[in-house]
């Protein structure tokens, strides 16, 4: 009975979360474009899958990813080894980004742009190498970002100095970087943070801020994702200058 209520609550939350998309698409399809839906049956089956999927995901978040992130943070805090913590932070950032599908897609497209602009040879091999290097640069930058972010939580440094400093660096690099890399660099920040990484990293940050004396989970626990967005922009712009 208890489980049924829980499932019902999660499922109705999922319906509420998806209602805006359904409304927008239906409105533009029917009122603006004035066209019937293609294969309505497929669409309905798809919607049911999306609702079931979101329900399961949120449940898994609460019972799996969040507790795991916090348990790891507390275990590291008890162990008291900052080096081990930072190595873990780097691996987490690098490992989750390097295989990110959105990043693979954007790196491939960036290689096409570079070939078009004549920066690299138009052969497939050259493009592949460029895309691979770009992916490595982004993954490396996210690894460094999580390390910096964790170090900030441990030391209790205020976040806005880092972010504003980062903005200044991005602005300065933009002035010198070649035009064709700028769009790619700016977008790279957004794609590096995936659906599974975000909850895990958030729980890790909040867990660390909770476990370390004198840190407030609200002012110190959040902010890891912000580093993971800003750092790839800096690294990719630098990559554009050097490559």
């Amino acid at each position: 009975m208890n489980i049924l209520t829980l499932v019902w609550r999660r499922a109705s939350d999922a319906v509420r979360d998806l209602a805006p998309i359904i409304a927008v698409i239906a409105f533009f399809q029917i009122v603006v474009l004035q066209q019937p839906f293609p294969n309505l049956a497929d669409v309905l089956v798809g919607l049911i899958c999306v609702i079931a999927g979101l329900t399961l995901f949120i449940q898994g978040l609460e019972s799996g990813l969040f507790p795991l992130g916090e348990a790891i943070a507390q275990a590291f805090a008890r162990k008291g080894s900052t080096t081990a913590l930072l190595v873990f932070a780097f691996c987490l950032g690098f490992g989750t980004t390097v295989a990110e599908p959105a990043l693979i897609a954007i790196a491939g497209k960036a290689a096409e742009v570079a070939a078009e602009a004549g920066v690299i040879a138009p052969e497939a091999a050259a493009q592949e190498a460029y895309a691979f290097n770009l992916r490595m640069v982004v993954a490396l930058s996210v690894g460094v970002a999580i390390v910096l972010g964790v170090l900030r939580i441990v030391m209790g440094w205020p976040i806005h100095r880092f972010i504003i400093g980062g903005y200044v660096i991005v602005t300065a690099l933009t002035a010198f970087a070649p035009d064709e890399i700028i769009g790619v660099a700016y977008d790279a920040g957004g794609v590096a943070t995936s659906t599974i990484t975000v909850p895990l990293v958030t729980a890790l940050g909040v867990g660390l801020a909770n476990a370390i004396r004198g840190r407030n989970p609200m002012t110190d626990g959040f902010g890891l994702i912000a580093f993971a967005v800003l750092n790839p922009m800096i690294f990719v712009l630098t990559f554009g200058l050097v490559a």
Binding site: V50, G53, L56, F57, G64, L65, G95, T174, F222
Partner: protein
């Protein structure tokens, strides 16, 4: 029967893809757990069940999106950008006013996809829990969605007019920096985080399709060069809207009292309970 078999195959394929995506994370977690921390996390069974739920849920979510929403979203982005071109008088060059429908669609779809974005739900839940309820999860998500909506719409305007991307982004940075010095300390890290969590599973494919379609159909724009940049808009503007939301909320709270701002009590550290 065939359709069901196809569906089952598609589902298994998506589950396999998701498992491959998650494998590095699991490998890192297990390695550190075994080699460095050398202990079992509490409630291992619950965590493993949760992980399986997340995997299956994500696979179902993706397969549903691919079947139901992405094809329509992408077709619509294409049709809307083409319809706008039809309205423009030939030889008159590009007039940004001809694309009003595209901006409206961009704003609406940016808002709607952000509300359904799973990482944003995760961060909003955590923020509500950590702040002891003073940050409302649903309010935060709406604020972020408004930011994405404005950002994507402005990003489409930029593609149509062909103005340089850095102007917009750097101007947005200046606004964020000014807001940072005016906002309450507790909201700043959360607001910065909100920039990164919005651009994920649901938003990126639809918004990218919109950008590419627009850049391909507006005369004088190249999809390769001008198609980039929408995601950058979608990741700066939420920072502004969340900081703005916090400023407005504070202002509304403090105004009727007309006395010095009271410091709120320390947040409960409920997570520390064993």
């Amino acid at each position: 029967m065939n359709a069901a078999a196809d569906f089952a195959m598609g589902f298994l394929g998506t589950v396999a893809d998701t498992v491959v995506d998650v494998a590095p994370i699991v490998a890192i977690l297990v390695t550190f757990q075994v080699v460095v921390l050398r202990q079992r996390p509490p409630n291992l069974a619950g965590i493993v069940t949760g992980f399986v739920c997340v995997l299956l849920g994500l696979a179902l979510f993706l397969i549903g999106l691919e079947q139901a929403l992405f094809p329509i979203g992408e077709t619509m982005a294409r049709q809307l950008t083409e319809a706008s071109v039809g309205d423009a008088s030939p030889g008159a060059g590009v007039d940004w006013r001809d694309y009003a429908l595209v901006y409206a669609f961009a704003a609406a779809i940016g808002f709607a996809t952000t509300v359904a974005e799973p990482p944003l739900i995760a961060v909003a839940l955590k923020a509500e829990q950590v702040s002891g309820g003073s940050v409302n999860a649903w309010g935060l998500r709406i604020a972020v969605a408004i930011g994405v909506s404005a950002g994507v719409s402005l990003g489409c305007f930029r593609i149509v007019t062909g103005t340089p991307l850095p102007w917009y982004i750097i101007a947005a940075y200046v606004v964020v920096i000014v807001q940072t010095f005016r906002a309450s300390k507790t909201i700043i890290p959360l607001a910065y985080d909100c920039g990164g969590v919005t651009t994920s599973t649901v938003t990126v494919p639809v918004v990218a399709a919109l950008g590419l379609g627009l850049a391909a159909s507006v005369p004088g724009r190249s999809p390769l060069i001008d198609g980039f940049g929408l995601i950058a808009f979608a990741s700066v503007f939420p920072i502004m809207s969340v900081l703005g939301y916090a400023m407005v909320a504070n202002w509304v709270r403090d105004r009727p009292i007309m006395r010095r701002r009271q410091r709120r009590p320390r947040m409960p550290k409920e997570d520390l309970k064993p």
